[in-house]
Symmetry: C2
Subunit: 123 residues, 2 copies
Amino acid sequence: MKKLDINFSEPLNCPVRNVLDRIGDKWSLLILLVLEQEDVLRFNEIHQSIGDISQKMLSVSLKNLEADGLVNRKVYPQIPPKVEYKLTDLGKSLIPFVNALSDWSKQHMDTILKNRTAYKKKL
Amino acid sequence: MKKLDINFSEPLNCPVRNVLDRIGDKWSLLILLVLEQEDVLRFNEIHQSIGDISQKMLSVSLKNLEADGLVNRKVYPQIPPKVEYKLTDLGKSLIPFVNALSDWSKQHMDTILKNRTAYKKKL
DNA sequence: CAGTATCCTACTGGATACTG
DNA sequence: CAGTATCCAGTAGGATACTG
Protein backbone atom coordinates (compact mmCIF):
# COMPACT_ATOMS: atom_id res chain seq x y z
CA MET A 1 0.00 0.00 0.00
CA LYS A 2 1.03 3.51 -0.72
CA LYS A 3 1.89 5.63 2.23
CA LEU A 4 0.37 9.08 2.50
CA ASP A 5 2.06 12.19 3.84
CA ILE A 6 -0.92 13.33 5.82
CA ASN A 7 -2.82 11.17 8.20
CA PHE A 8 -6.33 12.26 7.39
CA SER A 9 -7.88 9.81 9.74
CA GLU A 10 -6.59 11.50 12.87
CA PRO A 11 -9.23 14.20 13.31
CA LEU A 12 -7.24 16.16 15.87
CA ASN A 13 -4.18 16.05 13.70
CA CYS A 14 -5.98 16.83 10.51
CA PRO A 15 -6.33 20.46 9.46
CA VAL A 16 -8.87 19.57 6.80
CA ARG A 17 -11.15 17.95 9.33
CA ASN A 18 -10.67 20.82 11.72
CA VAL A 19 -11.61 23.52 9.30
CA LEU A 20 -14.42 21.49 7.81
CA ASP A 21 -16.08 20.67 11.07
CA ARG A 22 -16.57 24.34 11.69
CA ILE A 23 -17.14 25.39 8.12
CA GLY A 24 -19.06 22.44 6.83
CA ASP A 25 -22.18 23.02 8.82
CA LYS A 26 -25.21 24.59 7.30
CA TRP A 27 -24.89 28.21 8.33
CA SER A 28 -21.48 29.25 9.67
CA LEU A 29 -19.94 30.29 6.39
CA LEU A 30 -23.05 32.14 5.38
CA ILE A 31 -22.94 34.11 8.61
CA LEU A 32 -19.29 34.97 8.07
CA LEU A 33 -20.04 36.24 4.57
CA VAL A 34 -23.00 38.29 5.72
CA LEU A 35 -20.93 39.85 8.48
CA GLU A 36 -18.17 40.60 6.05
CA GLN A 37 -20.56 42.47 3.79
CA GLU A 38 -22.16 44.53 6.54
CA ASP A 39 -19.32 44.94 9.02
CA VAL A 40 -21.53 45.10 12.12
CA LEU A 41 -24.93 43.50 12.55
CA ARG A 42 -27.38 42.83 15.32
CA PHE A 43 -28.93 39.43 15.92
CA ASN A 44 -32.16 40.14 14.11
CA GLU A 45 -30.37 41.80 11.23
CA ILE A 46 -28.40 38.65 10.57
CA HIS A 47 -31.57 36.67 11.01
CA GLN A 48 -33.36 38.60 8.33
CA SER A 49 -30.36 38.83 6.03
CA ILE A 50 -30.10 35.09 5.81
CA GLY A 51 -33.81 34.69 5.70
CA ASP A 52 -34.47 31.03 6.20
CA ILE A 53 -32.31 30.35 9.22
CA SER A 54 -34.13 29.53 12.45
CA GLN A 55 -33.45 31.52 15.59
CA LYS A 56 -32.09 28.42 17.18
CA MET A 57 -29.54 27.69 14.48
CA LEU A 58 -28.47 31.30 14.28
CA SER A 59 -27.89 31.31 18.00
CA VAL A 60 -25.98 28.03 17.96
CA SER A 61 -23.88 28.99 14.95
CA LEU A 62 -22.99 32.38 16.36
CA LYS A 63 -21.91 30.78 19.62
CA ASN A 64 -19.64 28.38 17.79
CA LEU A 65 -18.12 31.14 15.71
CA GLU A 66 -17.65 33.21 18.83
CA ALA A 67 -16.09 30.29 20.67
CA ASP A 68 -13.57 29.81 17.87
CA GLY A 69 -12.76 33.49 17.91
CA LEU A 70 -14.01 34.17 14.39
CA VAL A 71 -16.80 36.48 15.48
CA ASN A 72 -16.93 39.11 18.19
CA ARG A 73 -20.05 39.60 20.30
CA LYS A 74 -20.63 42.94 21.96
CA VAL A 75 -23.46 43.36 24.44
CA TYR A 76 -24.91 46.74 25.33
CA PRO A 77 -26.41 46.40 28.80
CA GLN A 78 -29.68 48.15 28.17
CA ILE A 79 -33.36 47.38 27.82
CA PRO A 80 -34.37 46.28 25.30
CA PRO A 81 -31.04 44.50 24.88
CA LYS A 82 -28.73 45.27 22.00
CA VAL A 83 -26.06 42.90 20.79
CA GLU A 84 -23.69 43.53 17.93
CA TYR A 85 -21.75 40.95 15.98
CA LYS A 86 -18.71 41.55 13.84
CA LEU A 87 -15.84 39.57 12.42
CA THR A 88 -12.60 39.32 14.36
CA ASP A 89 -9.30 39.61 12.53
CA LEU A 90 -9.12 35.84 12.51
CA GLY A 91 -12.57 35.69 11.00
CA LYS A 92 -11.63 38.26 8.38
CA SER A 93 -8.54 36.29 7.46
CA LEU A 94 -10.71 33.38 6.46
CA ILE A 95 -12.93 35.40 4.12
CA PRO A 96 -10.64 35.44 1.06
CA PHE A 97 -10.53 31.66 1.01
CA VAL A 98 -14.25 31.40 1.33
CA ASN A 99 -14.67 33.85 -1.50
CA ALA A 100 -12.19 31.92 -3.62
CA LEU A 101 -14.23 28.80 -3.05
CA SER A 102 -17.41 30.67 -3.82
CA ASP A 103 -15.92 31.99 -7.06
CA TRP A 104 -14.83 28.51 -8.09
CA SER A 105 -18.34 27.33 -7.44
CA LYS A 106 -19.91 30.15 -9.44
CA GLN A 107 -17.62 29.34 -12.35
CA HIS A 108 -18.31 25.63 -12.41
CA MET A 109 -21.82 25.37 -11.05
CA ASP A 110 -23.38 24.98 -14.48
CA THR A 111 -20.95 22.25 -15.46
CA ILE A 112 -21.52 20.40 -12.23
CA LEU A 113 -25.29 20.58 -12.56
CA LYS A 114 -25.06 19.26 -16.11
CA ASN A 115 -22.73 16.50 -14.98
CA ARG A 116 -25.22 15.46 -12.34
CA THR A 117 -28.04 15.32 -14.84
CA ALA A 118 -25.98 13.34 -17.31
CA TYR A 119 -24.91 10.94 -14.57
CA LYS A 120 -28.49 10.27 -13.55
CA LYS A 121 -29.45 9.47 -17.11
CA LYS A 122 -26.67 6.94 -17.37
CA LEU A 123 -28.07 4.95 -14.47
CA MET B 1 -32.86 46.64 6.95
CA LYS B 2 -29.68 46.48 4.98
CA LYS B 3 -29.88 44.89 1.59
CA LEU B 4 -27.37 42.22 0.65
CA ASP B 5 -25.83 41.68 -2.75
CA ILE B 6 -26.12 37.95 -2.65
CA ASN B 7 -29.27 36.09 -1.79
CA PHE B 8 -27.82 33.35 0.34
CA SER B 9 -31.16 31.87 1.14
CA GLU B 10 -31.81 30.67 -2.39
CA PRO B 11 -29.87 27.38 -2.37
CA LEU B 12 -30.01 26.90 -6.12
CA ASN B 13 -28.86 30.43 -6.69
CA CYS B 14 -26.20 30.35 -4.05
CA PRO B 15 -22.71 29.24 -5.02
CA VAL B 16 -21.67 28.96 -1.40
CA ARG B 17 -24.43 26.51 -0.67
CA ASN B 18 -23.71 24.59 -3.83
CA VAL B 19 -20.07 24.05 -3.15
CA LEU B 20 -20.65 23.40 0.51
CA ASP B 21 -23.25 20.75 0.03
CA ARG B 22 -20.75 18.71 -1.89
CA ILE B 23 -17.69 19.68 0.11
CA GLY B 24 -19.13 19.94 3.57
CA ASP B 25 -19.86 16.29 4.05
CA LYS B 26 -17.58 14.10 6.05
CA TRP B 27 -15.42 12.47 3.40
CA SER B 28 -15.54 14.07 -0.05
CA LEU B 29 -12.71 16.52 0.41
CA LEU B 30 -10.56 13.90 2.03
CA ILE B 31 -11.06 11.63 -0.95
CA LEU B 32 -10.14 14.43 -3.34
CA LEU B 33 -6.94 15.12 -1.42
CA VAL B 34 -5.99 11.46 -1.28
CA LEU B 35 -6.57 11.10 -5.02
CA GLU B 36 -4.53 14.20 -5.65
CA GLN B 37 -1.59 12.76 -3.76
CA GLU B 38 -1.67 9.39 -5.42
CA ASP B 39 -2.97 10.17 -8.90
CA VAL B 40 -4.72 6.83 -9.45
CA LEU B 41 -6.14 4.58 -6.78
CA ARG B 42 -8.36 1.54 -6.56
CA PHE B 43 -11.34 1.29 -4.25
CA ASN B 44 -9.57 -0.57 -1.50
CA GLU B 45 -6.51 1.63 -1.72
CA ILE B 46 -8.61 4.68 -0.98
CA HIS B 47 -10.34 2.75 1.74
CA GLN B 48 -7.11 1.95 3.47
CA SER B 49 -5.58 5.37 2.85
CA ILE B 50 -8.35 7.09 4.72
CA GLY B 51 -8.50 4.41 7.31
CA ASP B 52 -11.64 5.04 9.27
CA ILE B 53 -14.13 5.45 6.46
CA SER B 54 -16.74 2.74 6.06
CA GLN B 55 -17.19 0.92 2.77
CA LYS B 56 -20.63 2.36 2.50
CA MET B 57 -19.58 5.96 2.89
CA LEU B 58 -16.65 5.54 0.54
CA SER B 59 -18.99 4.12 -2.05
CA VAL B 60 -21.56 6.86 -1.59
CA SER B 61 -18.99 9.64 -1.59
CA LEU B 62 -17.24 8.36 -4.67
CA LYS B 63 -20.57 8.15 -6.50
CA ASN B 64 -21.34 11.76 -5.63
CA LEU B 65 -17.93 12.94 -6.72
CA GLU B 66 -18.28 10.98 -9.92
CA ALA B 67 -21.76 12.38 -10.54
CA ASP B 68 -20.45 15.92 -10.18
CA GLY B 69 -17.61 15.15 -12.56
CA LEU B 70 -14.86 15.67 -10.01
CA VAL B 71 -13.66 12.08 -10.09
CA ASN B 72 -13.31 9.64 -12.94
CA ARG B 73 -14.17 5.98 -12.49
CA LYS B 74 -12.60 3.42 -14.80
CA VAL B 75 -13.75 -0.19 -14.71
CA TYR B 76 -11.62 -3.03 -16.01
CA PRO B 77 -14.03 -5.82 -16.95
CA GLN B 78 -12.16 -8.71 -15.42
CA ILE B 79 -12.45 -11.11 -12.54
CA PRO B 80 -11.72 -10.19 -9.86
CA PRO B 81 -12.92 -6.72 -10.79
CA LYS B 82 -10.58 -3.78 -10.93
CA VAL B 83 -11.76 -0.19 -10.68
CA GLU B 84 -9.53 2.83 -10.78
CA TYR B 85 -10.36 6.29 -9.53
CA LYS B 86 -8.63 9.51 -10.45
CA LEU B 87 -9.36 13.22 -10.41
CA THR B 88 -10.85 14.86 -13.46
CA ASP B 89 -9.57 18.25 -14.58
CA LEU B 90 -12.51 19.81 -12.79
CA GLY B 91 -11.58 17.92 -9.65
CA LYS B 92 -7.97 19.00 -9.96
CA SER B 93 -9.01 22.61 -10.36
CA LEU B 94 -10.60 22.52 -6.93
CA ILE B 95 -7.52 21.21 -5.15
CA PRO B 96 -5.61 24.52 -4.79
CA PHE B 97 -8.53 26.04 -2.92
CA VAL B 98 -8.83 23.07 -0.65
CA ASN B 99 -5.15 23.24 0.07
CA ALA B 100 -5.40 26.95 0.77
CA LEU B 101 -8.14 26.25 3.26
CA SER B 102 -6.11 23.44 4.75
CA ASP B 103 -3.10 25.73 5.11
CA TRP B 104 -5.19 28.40 6.80
CA SER B 105 -6.43 25.78 9.19
CA LYS B 106 -2.94 24.51 9.94
CA GLN B 107 -1.81 28.04 10.68
CA HIS B 108 -4.65 28.95 13.00
CA MET B 109 -5.62 25.62 14.51
CA ASP B 110 -3.74 26.27 17.76
CA THR B 111 -5.32 29.68 18.17
CA ILE B 112 -8.76 28.31 17.53
CA LEU B 113 -8.33 25.47 19.98
CA LYS B 114 -7.13 27.93 22.62
CA ASN B 115 -10.07 30.20 21.87
CA ARG B 116 -12.45 27.33 22.38
CA THR B 117 -10.92 26.43 25.71
CA ALA B 118 -10.98 30.03 26.88
CA TYR B 119 -14.59 30.39 25.78
CA LYS B 120 -15.64 27.33 27.74
CA LYS B 121 -14.01 28.67 30.90
CA LYS B 122 -15.89 31.94 30.59
CA LEU B 123 -19.23 30.12 30.75
C1' DC C 1 -12.10 -6.98 -5.49
C1' DA C 2 -15.55 -3.79 -5.36
C1' DG C 3 -19.05 -3.06 -4.00
C1' DT C 4 -24.86 -3.70 -2.03
C1' DA C 5 -28.32 -4.41 1.33
C1' DT C 6 -30.08 -3.88 5.72
C1' DC C 7 -30.50 -2.16 10.06
C1' DC C 8 -29.65 1.10 13.45
C1' DT C 9 -28.04 5.27 16.14
C1' DA C 10 -26.89 9.92 16.78
C1' DC C 11 -26.86 14.23 15.42
C1' DT C 12 -28.51 18.30 12.69
C1' DG C 13 -31.65 21.36 12.29
C1' DG C 14 -36.70 23.01 12.04
C1' DA C 15 -41.17 24.57 14.56
C1' DT C 16 -43.14 26.42 18.30
C1' DA C 17 -43.56 28.53 22.61
C1' DC C 18 -41.66 31.03 26.17
C1' DT C 19 -38.45 34.77 28.90
C1' DG C 20 -35.41 38.66 30.99
C1' DC D 1 -34.60 42.56 21.33
C1' DA D 2 -32.10 38.61 21.79
C1' DG D 3 -32.27 34.96 22.83
C1' DT D 4 -33.79 29.63 25.54
C1' DA D 5 -36.35 25.49 26.07
C1' DT D 6 -38.62 21.73 24.28
C1' DC D 7 -40.02 18.57 21.11
C1' DC D 8 -39.69 16.34 16.80
C1' DA D 9 -38.41 14.65 11.93
C1' DG D 10 -35.08 13.66 8.60
C1' DT D 11 -30.74 12.25 7.44
C1' DA D 12 -25.82 11.29 7.72
C1' DG D 13 -23.22 7.83 8.64
C1' DG D 14 -21.57 3.39 11.15
C1' DA D 15 -21.72 -2.01 11.74
C1' DT D 16 -22.50 -6.07 9.80
C1' DA D 17 -23.54 -9.37 6.44
C1' DC D 18 -23.81 -10.63 1.87
C1' DT D 19 -22.70 -10.93 -3.66
C1' DG D 20 -21.12 -11.06 -8.76
